[in-house]
Amino acid sequence: MRAGVIEFPGSNCDRDLAVAFAAAGARVTRVWHKETGLPKGLDVIGIPGGFSFGDYLRCGAIAARSPVMRAVVDFAGAGGHVLGICNGFQVLTETGLLPGALMRNAGLKFLCRSERLRVATTDSAFTRLYAPGEEITVPIAHHDGNYTADPGTLARLQDEDRIAFTYADNPNGSLADIAGVLSANRRVLGMMPHPERCSDPRLGGEDGLRLFRAVAGILESA
């Protein structure tokens, strides 16, 4: 399986994300934001956390308009798998690949700690190795993780089983405790918590590693 990890100025989880994909058996290529095309043969693209372009204008807004993101939108449109974590989730909502938006945390504070998540659906390449309703512990580190969407969008996400993860103890005011959502074709996942930060037991947990193994396994056998 080949994974591409996009890098913007200000990305700071790109290496961790590459290491997590590699731990799941992927060959990883890192792709600079000015590239207008993607390396051939990628099976999944990761958009890492960080503070792309200094969070100027809105988190993820400038990165979403970068040349490489046009190629990522095309990749997703052709049925490719895309994983956006933290700032990567913000970038995906800004491109319109995922619905809704991430606003300032309700408590206005930057939050950096581990949170308990519930796996809300196992019907995706990313979440298929978890048990339905399973509780996992995954770190968060964000200032703008307060997920919001209009009532029609929320109803659609619920009806179509597209909420991937919810917070057990909502830390940031997110609508319906949402921590991660899937695209309509279930192949694009955006989530605020950092599974790549809990993919090695030496670093305090490995609840995140199954997500990378899940997507690696399904794309390897495809």
Partner: protein, 79 residues
């Protein structure tokens, strides 16, 4: 041509920063501040000289980048 774009959170979208400002104003003794909404002002200097064309260009900039219309609304003033 100077164009001023005002971007605000849409009506009905909770504004926790505005609420924090309101609370701080109360702490300072300013009474009767019932709501506070905060946003951003973007000032553009455009080469365009036709006001309607400048407004149309700014509107497209808002739709494509300056505002996230999922949560924000915008107003354009051409000076």
């Amino acid at each position: 041509m100077k164009v001023v774009v005002k971007v605000m959170l849409r009506q009905g979208v909770l504004d926790p920063q505005g609420e924090a400002i309101r609370h701080a104003l109360g702490t300072l003794g300013f009474e009767g501040v019932e709501t506070v909404r905060q946003g951003k002002l973007i000032v553009l200097d455009l080469a365009e000289t036709d006001p309607e064309a400048a407004r149309a260009a700014a509107a497209e900039m808002c739709e494509r980048l300056l505002a996230n219309t999922v949560i924000e609304s915008y107003e354009i003033e051409v000076e």
